[in-house]
């Protein structure tokens, strides 16, 4: 069953003539990493904030775990949904441990359970234990985001809402936190709705991408499909799908392998291995450099599949098809 279902959800701010979010409908399955992508002002934040009811929809309905989100007291709903934002919103007068403990305390957890959870979360987000007693102001931007992530995860919510959490970080820190978020997600299997306007971040993180424009969902599909079969010129331009090399650089080995590919048998000891998170442009260079038609993909020391030149080539004609097949959008 879908964990989040939106049915014709609309948000109209009284100051604006056109709705910020315009009758969107979608469904998200448990454990999916959804990335909301679109230009500034297209309604990503508004949509996200309707899920934890910081904004109430003007019309339409949101089902969380099959239940109308309005049927719960709003504070109860929010305590079950992790929330992390770009500015972190950490409480400056709370130490790191107090910040992490906010929701567990609201839920009335026992002290020892909270203490154990803080330690566990510091490990999970890669912060040293002696940061517990620091104040947010004594941390770097990246470290503050880690605390924000730990705080959002604290009460082990099934759903995590993340609004451009890495948007204010430098490129290196951002890339590292993206990697770690994926790593964490492999352990905790949350349903994540993650907002970004950075296409590379979206492609890197998403199981499925929700591309938005003018308050509507333009395309909601896997990164591979979004790149290879953009449904409108808007999506195509957003992803620069016509530039083959750039497109390869945006896709991961994991996405080209597909998720159900069974691991192949060994015999690849001396070949340069690929990692599932390597981009395909790098993979192409490795393939050409090794003069091989396929290379092993290794994750955690285990071969999870082989990437072949055919896998890469398979994407090229579809690009052309995607470009020829596009439907121009009116007003785009």
């Amino acid at each position: 069953m879908s964990i989040i279902v939106a049915e014709g959800v609309t948000k109209r701010f009284s100051s604006d003539s056109r709705p910020a979010v315009d009758a969107v409908s979608f469904a998200v399955d448990p454990g999916e990493f959804i990335v909301l992508l679109g230009p500034s002002g297209c309604g990503k934040t508004t949509l996200l904030k309707m899920i934890n009811r910081i904004y109430e929809p003007t019309s339409g309905q949101l089902l969380i775990d099959g239940v109308d989100s309005r049927s719960l007291p709003v504070t109860h709903l929010r305590r079950r949904i992790g929330y992390a934002i770009q500015q972190t919103g950490l409480f400056p007068h709370f130490r790191v441990e107090q910040n992490i403990a906010v929701v567990p305390r609201l839920l009335g957890w026992e002290r020892p359970r909270i203490e154990a959870r803080i330690t566990e979360l510091l490990d999970l987000v890669g912060l040293p234990h002696d940061f517990r007693r620091r104040y947010p102001r004594q941390l770097s931007g990246g470290q503050q985001q880690r605390v924000g992530l730990a705080r959002a995860l604290a009460a082990d919510p099934a759903i995590m809402l993340m609004d451009e959490p890495f948007g204010a970080l430098d490129a290196i820190t951002r890339a590292r936190l993206q990697d770690e978020l994926l790593h964490i997600q492999r352990k905790v299997h949350k349903t994540i709705l993650f907002v970004t306007h950075d296409i590379e971040e979206a492609l890197r993180l998403a199981d499925r991408m929700m591309v938005m424009n003018h308050g509507q969902i333009v395309q909601f599909d896997t990164p591979l499909t979004i790149l290879t079969r953009p449904c409108t010129r808007f999506v195509e331009q957003l992803t620069s799908a016509n530039d083959v090399l750039r497109r390869l650089s945006l896709l991961t080995v994991a996405s080209a392998l597909g998720r159900e590919r069974p691991p192949a048998a060994g015999g690849s000891a001396d070949l340069p291995p690929l990692h599932p998170q390597d981009d395909l442009r790098f993979a192409l260079t490795q393939l050409l450099g090794a003069g091989e038609s396929s290379l092993p993909v290794i994750d955690d020391g285990r071969e999870v599949g082989r990437l072949t030149l055919a896998d890469l080539r398979a994407m090229l004609p579809s690009t052309v098809a995607g470009l020829e097949g596009h439907v121009p959008v009116s007003g785009a």
Partner: protein, 206 residues
């Protein structure tokens, strides 16, 4: 200083009265200003009218206010304290409002997002974060209250103002000087204490 040597017990009593007047007036003021400030911080459209009204009260000369209150409250402690409370409101309320409204919106959004209710947000987040400004307001209001409290003598409420009034009436310069110095010392002492509290409130967040 001969007067002080022979009348130290009397001057001490006046000092204590002054402290009591100021202290109780400030306590009552905070009890009124805090909820009022919180209300104004939450209900934006009330801010202009209420702060405007408090500003108006603030412009009435303190002696006239005191005289105006005599028919209602008679002489003694109450007209004096009510006058002091009315004067303190503008500074206190304004600082509560500014302190709360000035909190980083992302922090407030996070407090909502974590699932805090209105009371939890107020007690755990907004008031602690507004505390430095709140204490700054308290300090300024206390200093001016210590000064204004000298007019309590005018309605037989005692305090160091007695020395000033008596001194003027009997042309006793020594009394005037001692009274003035005592008021100043009280103000300086209060300033040091409250300033320390203010600094502490700013430090307790790294």
């Amino acid at each position: 200083m001969g007067y002080l040597l022979t009348n130290w017990a009397y001057v001490g009593t006046l000092l204590l009265q002054h402290l009591w007047l100021t202290g109780s007036a400030m306590a009552i003021s905070v009890v009124i200003a805090l909820p009022l400030g919180v209300l104004l911080a939450r209900v934006a459209w009330l801010r202009g009218p209420v702060l405007g009204f408090l500003g108006l009260l603030y412009t009435i000369p303190s002696l006239s206010l005191l005289v105006l209150l005599i028919p209602v409250l008679r002489l003694g402690y109450w007209p004096a304290v009510v006058t002091l409370v009315i004067y303190a409101q503008l500074v206190l309320v304004r600082n509560v409002v500014v302190g709360m409204v000035g909190i980083d919106p992302a922090v407030i959004e996070a407090a909502h997002g974590m699932g805090m209710n209105s009371w939890q947000r107020l007690v755990q987040v907004e008031l602690p974060l507004a505390l430095p400004l709140l204490l700054a307001g308290l300090r300024i209001a206390t200093l001016s209250t210590i000064g204004i409290a000298t007019i309590a003598a005018f309605v037989n409420a005692g305090g160091l103002g007695m020395l000033l009034f008596d001194g003027v009436r009997t042309s006793n310069h020594e009394k005037i000087v001692i009274g003035a110095i005592a008021v100043s010392l009280l103000a300086i002492g209060a300033n040091v204490l409250l300033r320390r509290a203010e600094l502490w409130s700013q430090q307790s967040r790294g």
